[in-house]
């Protein structure tokens, strides 16, 4: 089974694709059959992914340096060969596992959540298409294949955000998501082209061996930094980094399972994954690393500061996702593939859990998104309550939940790069010190806003008197339990004292494996910060020692800025309305006056010339005869004055 899976990994994305085709072409009128096909396909993919994971672990570090690659030629031209296929190494195996797991659970969850929806079959078709695209992206051995699937997941995201297309807000959000990410993809495509032009290959392994010797390819360090920065625009768009994060909170207009699958656990981490896959490019030039780290840390802090004041469950979770994605980027910017991928995995568990929990709450509250109307849901929905608590503890970074290990590892790698630790050198150690403080601050804020939401939803009294909350059906509770379990134990694979052949970092890494150890200062710091956050939230929202309304009045200005998301959307709107529309109006004028003027001018010139020249054509024979004779006379005169040879040539040439 393991052998079979390792050598037939292409089946993993293919099975959901078959399911998609079958549902769309044949089984669309039969919702139950559609769901059955989709879930069967993704479950088989999941089994194959598990087998691959076991195979990779059994092989030790064999696959780290020498991934298992199976490729076919997609197309080739003189000097350009593009392949398509599968690259199995620990990183992609981990992603295969996470993506297929979350996709399976979300599809099972959707059985209950989407029950009775008129678009039930369509929903499962889209989910299958998404699974295909995401799994294809994960196993891509070269950047072009990755880009193709990257766009496909973008398409699925668009289709699923706008799934309830009769809702105006959903349509607009879908367009916003697509256009915003496309803005970043433009940079990604440019970056891919620049890599192809300079290094002559898009293969990840070949790029990995060629990029460190970039001077042999006529590149300077500055040039390579620019290429890395342009390439990074794609991940900025896809992974919701500042300033292109605006689409992700709006994307919550889609059905909640979609938010859990696409906009929390899998698609949005594609940017992190891509950056991780091309990390060698960033690692070669420290400037690019610093850029990634700054973007990540700033996004983390920025999004966390917005999440604190939001009033919709899914919006809070969305900003939390943006913030955690920033964390992953920060880890990459600190040069650690391990920390980033580890957090990616644990985040997929607990964030999918929390989104599905939020879906369960919304289901119970008849899709009323305002958390101020909830309260006291603990006694109505115990499973949701306990699993959600696990999720919150995990994201806050409390021992021994999953987030604790991954978040600590990130703090540790940033710490190691900063001047604070005393071991770092290089021009950017001061910068990394600042970033460390930002990351630590974000950790505290994360704990605060998560428990704010938690207490408001599940504790106190139910504030909406008309609601009749109830626990969700089994198909929705089961995924919560599975993800809750993983959110507890999922981080243990990265237990710091695990050694070779056991630790997460032994498999998913770039460079040498470093033995982990407990850094009790950092562990203590992060735990204390998380506890402060939780204590603050319970002080205000659970025990209500301080009125939150008075607090918001006391800190009116920061509250207003945070509540209005720092007016980023308004700034974009202003830019679009004034600058882009203004440019449009100017270009419209250019088109109307100059371009159309030239085209019309050509037409008018022809008409004018015609109106003059048509007078020559009188139709009267006498005029023609006159011209004929005039011509004869002119010829005779020329021949009279010209020399002999010209006369001969006028007469038709000498024979």
């Amino acid at each position: 089974m393991i052998e079979f899976a390792l050598h037939n990994a292409w089946l993993i994305p293919l099975l959901p694709a078959i399911a998609f085709t079958l549902i769309v072409l044949v089984f669309k009128p039969m919702p139950k059959v559609s769901a059955f096909i989709a879930i069967t396909a993704i479950l088989i993919s999941f089994l194959l992914a598990i087998s691959i994971g076991i195979g990779v672990i059994q092989a030790g570090d064999e696959f780290v340096e020498h991934p298992l690659k199976q490729v076919v030629t997609w197309f080739s031209m003189n000097g350009l060969e593009i392949e398509m296929g599968v690259q199995i190494d620990p990183t992609s195996a981990m992603m295969l596992f996470v993506v297929s797991l979350v996709a399976s659970l979300v599809q099972i969850y959707s059985l209950g959540y989407m029950h009775g929806d008129p678009g039930f079959s369509r929903f499962f078709a889209y989910l299958s298409l998404f699974a295909t695209s995401m799994l294809g992206l994960v196993i891509a051995p070269n950047l072009l294949q990755m880009f193709v699937f990257w766009e496909l997941v973008g398409l699925c995201s668009y289709l699923l955000i706008g799934f309830w297309f009769f809702k105006y807000s959903a349509r607009e959000a879908a367009k916003k998501a697509f256009i915003t990410t496309r803005t970043g993809d433009f940079g990604l495509l440019l970056g891919i082209l620049l890599l192809q032009i300079n290094f002559g290959t898009l293969d990840l392994m070949e790029l990995g061996s060629k990029i460190p010797h970039f001077t042999e390819y006529g590149l300077t360090a500055a040039g390579l930094t620019v290429i890395a920065a342009i390439l990074f625009l794609g991940p900025i768009g896809k992974s919701g980094q500042f300033p292109l994060h605006v689409w992700l909170p709006d994307a919550m207009e889609g059905p909640t399972p979609v938010s859990a699958l696409i906009h929390a656990a899998t698609m949005v981490v594609a940017g992190v994954y891509l950056t991780g896959r091309t990390l060698i490019l960033f690692k070669t030039v420290p400037g690019a690393m610093a850029f990634v780290a700054i973007m990540g840390a700033f996004t983390a802090l920025f999004a966390a500061s917005i999440a604190i004041t939001q009033t919709e469950m899914k919006k809070i979770l969305a900003y939390s996702t943006v913030s955690q994605l920033g964390y992953m980027m920060l880890a990459l910017g600190a040069g650690s593939l391990t920390a980033s991928m580890f957090h990616l995995m644990t985040h997929a568990f607990f964030k999918a859990l929390m989104f599905l929990g939020a879906g369960s709450v919304l289901h119970a509250m008849h899709n009323d998104p305002d958390i101020w109307k909830y309260g006291g849901l603990k006694k109505y929905m115990p499973i949701t309550y306990w699993t959600f608590l696990i999720g919150c503890l995990a994201i806050a970074g409390i021992f021994p939940f999953a987030g604790f290990f991954s978040k600590d590892l990130i703090l540790e790698v940033v710490w190691a790069n900063s001047g604070l630790s005393g071991h770092a050198h290089g021009p950017f150690q001061g910068l990394y010190s600042v970033l460390f403080v930002m990351a630590a601050l974000t950790a505290m804020m994360t704990a605060f806003y998560m428990f704010r939401m938690f207490f408001l939803c599940f504790h106190g009294e139910l504030r909406d008197k008309h609601a009749h909350p109830h626990e969700s059906p089994f198909s929705m509770a089961m995924p919560l339990l599975v993800l809750g379990f993983l959110s507890v134990v999922g981080g243990w694979v990265g237990w710091p004292t695990l050694g070779e052949g056991q630790a997460f970092g032994y498999f998913v890494r770039l460079g040498e494996f470093e033995h982990g150890h407990w850094n009790f200062f950092l562990v203590g710091l992060s735990t204390v910060l998380a506890l402060i956050g939780i204590a603050g939230a319970s002080y205000i929202y659970l025990f209500r020692k301080v009125s939150h309304e008075e607090l918001s009045k006391k800190w009116a200005t920061p509250y207003k800025w945070s509540f209005n998301k720092f007016y980023i959307d308004e700034i974009y709107l202003w830019i679009i309305h004034n600058i882009i529309d203004g440019l449009g109006r100017f270009l419209w004028w250019v088109d109307l006056v100059i371009v159309d003027g030239i085209v019309d001018g050509v037409g008018k010139l022809a008409t004018g010339l015609g109106s003059i020249l048509r007078r020559v054509q009188t139709g009267k024979l006498q005029h023609y005869a006159l011209i004929l004779f005039a011509g004869v006379v002119i010829l005779v005169i020329i021949m009279g004055f010209a020399d002999n040879s010209l006369s001969v040539s006028l007469l038709g040439g000498a024979r």
């Binding site: 054509q617 139709g619 024979l621 006498q622 004779f629």
Partner: protein
Amino acid sequence: MIGLEHFLIFSGTLFCIGLFGALAKRNAIAILMGLEIMLNSVNINLVAFSRYITTGDLTGQVFAIFVVAVAAAEVAVGLALIVAIYRNRMSVNVEDFDWLKW
């Protein structure tokens, strides 16, 4: 003494008169007459060259007779055309005949 050049000047003058008539007249029959004058001036040329350059050889004269015969046929066709046009348009004024541009 009358020489070749007198004949040539005479025929040239006659040609110009004929050409003017053909180009300037409005009446189609007058134009045909102008054409005839031009043909006759050519005939004079032919006969004069034959008389002065190739004396004793009657090529020019024979050629002139041919031209006269062809001119007679051409006039017959031309007049027939004019009669046909007149029947259609009730006019022999060439000012009215500008159908070549359609």
